[in-house]
Each structure stands twice: as C-alpha cells, then as structure tokens.
C-alpha cells in the first residue's frame, strides 16, 4: 500500500507547487512537461522514462497557446500522472519503457480534468475584485492586496487534490490493465506510430509552404549527419 501511496502524495504535492508556475507565478517554464516530468522522475527514481514522457508530451502540446481568454488543454497533469503510473507499475511484468509508452496514452484524458479545474478556478476568482474594492473603499489597502493571494493558495489546493484523485483513478486502472491484460497495454503503447501516420498525412495536405521545406530539409540533413557522427 505504501509503495503506491508515497509516490502518489509526492506527485500531488509536486504537481500543486509546479502548477503555480503555469499561470499564477512567473511563467518560468517549470510547468512544461519537458521540465516537470523529468524532475518528478528524478524524485521517484525513474529519470530516463520520465525524460521520454516529457519529450513526447512537450512535442504533442507545443502548439497549444494560452492566447487571450482562451484556456488551452495543458500537458502538466497527464505528464505527471504518466510518470506516476510508470513508477507504480514498474514491477508488473512489462518493461518500464513499455509501461511508460502505454501510460502516455492512458493518462492523456487527465488533461480534461486539468482544464476543468483551471476553468473553475478562473470562475471562482470573479468575486475577488469586488472584495478588494470594498477593502479599498475602507482604506484597508494591505487587506486588499492580500486578497490577491487567496486565489494562489486555492489554486495550489485545487490542483493537489485533483491530481491526487485523478492519480488514484488512473493508477488503479493501469495497474489492473498491465497485469491482467498485458497485450491490451501493448496495444496502447503501439499508438506511438499514430503521430507518424498523421504527420505524413499532414505533409500531403499542402499546409507547408516552399520556404519552410528548404529550412526543414537543411535541418534534417544536419541532424542525420550529427547523429551518425555521434554513433560512429
């Protein structure tokens, strides 16, 4: 029991702290999956798989931007939960890289939870300005400023709790799946080829312009040469 609970609590608290970076404080990129997932993986003892998870989620979500009032799906929850699943199910018989690959697909829906939490936090903040205005009217300026931090604390708590709950749910499902139906989890892991197909289809759709092709081919050639050089 404890070998399940300890990583879960670490993930929830780590996720709560890191999620503050996303909107509330600084935007230091700590909440990007390529940073957050490997850090968590380092705490929990599976850094290599966590780097893989971070890479995949970063590439998947690189183009979803927080522009204006639009709140995009964010890869923080799924990437952290995928690391958690990898850690918990490491001894289920699949290799760690196998379970990481399947965990990436299976934890993807948690970005919906993430967004619901984020939206409800943003809605619950609407009353804060009214409260701050009341304090300003009473000349209690310090209290008016303090209200700003109410929402920060709330964001941390909401994220910690919902990560904990989503973690329990998904880890339970995955531990069961991985041990009872290893072939089904292989199927999930096999979804790794889907981006390749869709990417190739995208190339034929004509959205890529001539100039981009030139730069792309140049970069591709350089990359292949460098990696062959590294191998030799």
């Amino acid at each position: 029991m404890s070998e399940f609970l300890v990583p879960l609590v670490i993930t929830a608290i780590f996720g709560g702290v890191v999620s503050l970076d996303r909107t509330c404080f600084g935007q230091f990129m700590v909440s990007r999956p390529i940073v957050a997932a490997p850090l968590l993986g380092l705490f929990l003892g599976y850094p290599n798989e966590a780097v893989f998870i971070g890479l995949v989620y970063e590439l998947l979500f690189l183009r979803s931007l927080p522009v204006g009032a639009h709140v995009p799906y964010h890869p923080l929850y799924p990437s952290l939960i995928a690391v958690l699943i990898t850690v918990v199910t490491a001894r289920s018989g699949l290799g760690t890289l196998q379970s990481a690959s399947a965990a990436i697909i299976l934890s993807l829906p948690s970005s919906v939870v993430d967004r619901v939490v984020d939206l409800s936090w943003r809605r619950s903040n609407e009353r804060l300005v009214t409260r701050a205005t009341a304090y300003v009217r009473l000349e209690k300026f310090r209290a008016a400023r303090a209200i700003h931090f109410v929402s920060l604390g709330r964001y941390f708590l909401m994220n910690t709790v919902s990560l904990f709950l989503a973690g329990i749910f998904l880890v339970t499902i995955c531990s069961y799946l991985f041990s009872a139906y290893p072939r089904i989890s292989l199927l999930f892991a096999g979804a790794g080829v889907v981006p390749l197909f869709v990417g190739l289809a995208g190339l034929t759709s004509g959205k890529v312009r001539g100039k981009a092709w030139l730069g792309f081919t140049f970069g591709l050639a350089a990359g292949v040469l460098v990696s062959l050089g590294i191998r030799l």
């Binding site: 979803s64 931007l65 522009v67 204006g68 009032a69 639009h70 995009p72 939206l119 943003r122 809605r123 959205k207």
Partner: protein, 162 residues
Amino acid sequence: MPVVFVRVDDRLIHGQIVEGWVPFVGADAIYVVDDEICLDESRCRLMRMILPSGLGLRIIATAELSEALASDRLNRVMILFNSLNSLVSAVENGFSMGNINVGNIHNLRGGHQITPSVFLNKNDVTLVKKLHDMGIALEVRDVPDGRCHDLFKLVCHEDVRR
C-alpha cells in the same frame, strides 16, 4: 472577393487571430472595419507593427467595405469588426455573409456575461436579435480548436433565465 472569415472582436488583431485563425483559414489579408479606429493614427500604427509578414492589412470605415472588397479580387480576406455596432452598420451598407464568428466582446459597463469572453449589454442583445432576423448566424468560438456556440441561442437562454 473571397471573404474567408468574418469575426467580431474588440481586441482586433491579437494572439488568437495571428496564432490561431490566420493559419487556420489561410488568409492573405486582414480588413479591420471600424469608423473610429480608421481615424486613430496611433492604433493603426500599432496594428501594422504586430502584423505577421506576408499579410496585407487595410483599416477602413464601414461604408467603404463593399467597395474595397470589390476592388480586391486576389486575396483571401479576413474581416475584423470592433463591435456588433460596426458589423450591423456594415451589413446595412450592403455587406453580406452567412456565418460570422464572435470572439471577444468585453462590454463591462452594463454588460452581462454570456460566455467567458462575451459580455453583452442591452444594445448588443437587440443587435444580435436583429442580425438573427436578417438570417446571419453568429457563432462564438475563440480559437479554431475551441468549442462552438450559437450566440442567438445563448442570448435567448439568458433572457429566459432572467
């Protein structure tokens, strides 16, 4: 004059347009249509500055719209209105389009929240109904990947609730 996209957005050219809609609809030119903004030198300068390269920009008054579109036959045009008011006055001047996107309307004074990014006051509500009677559909969607809502239905729903 292939008009590919029409949007009502009080922030005019901003991230949702530049990063989201322009690549999605494949526009070559943006028309900003508003009677006040086309006279405001500093706002015109700012808009020119934030425009991505390879994209044309014209800032014109509502009355000039039909004429400008008639003379511009090559581009795929995206039209931005600052408010429902300027959209209605353009429609009254002969502009027609079946389906119009609504992005941000932030009428905080006297405004009532319809969706997270749309706050309408009483005047706006009558305009929405008027546009609906003219057979123009208004859909609320902030970015291409976002969810779609029919503004008229939302407004009616609000009326019933109140």
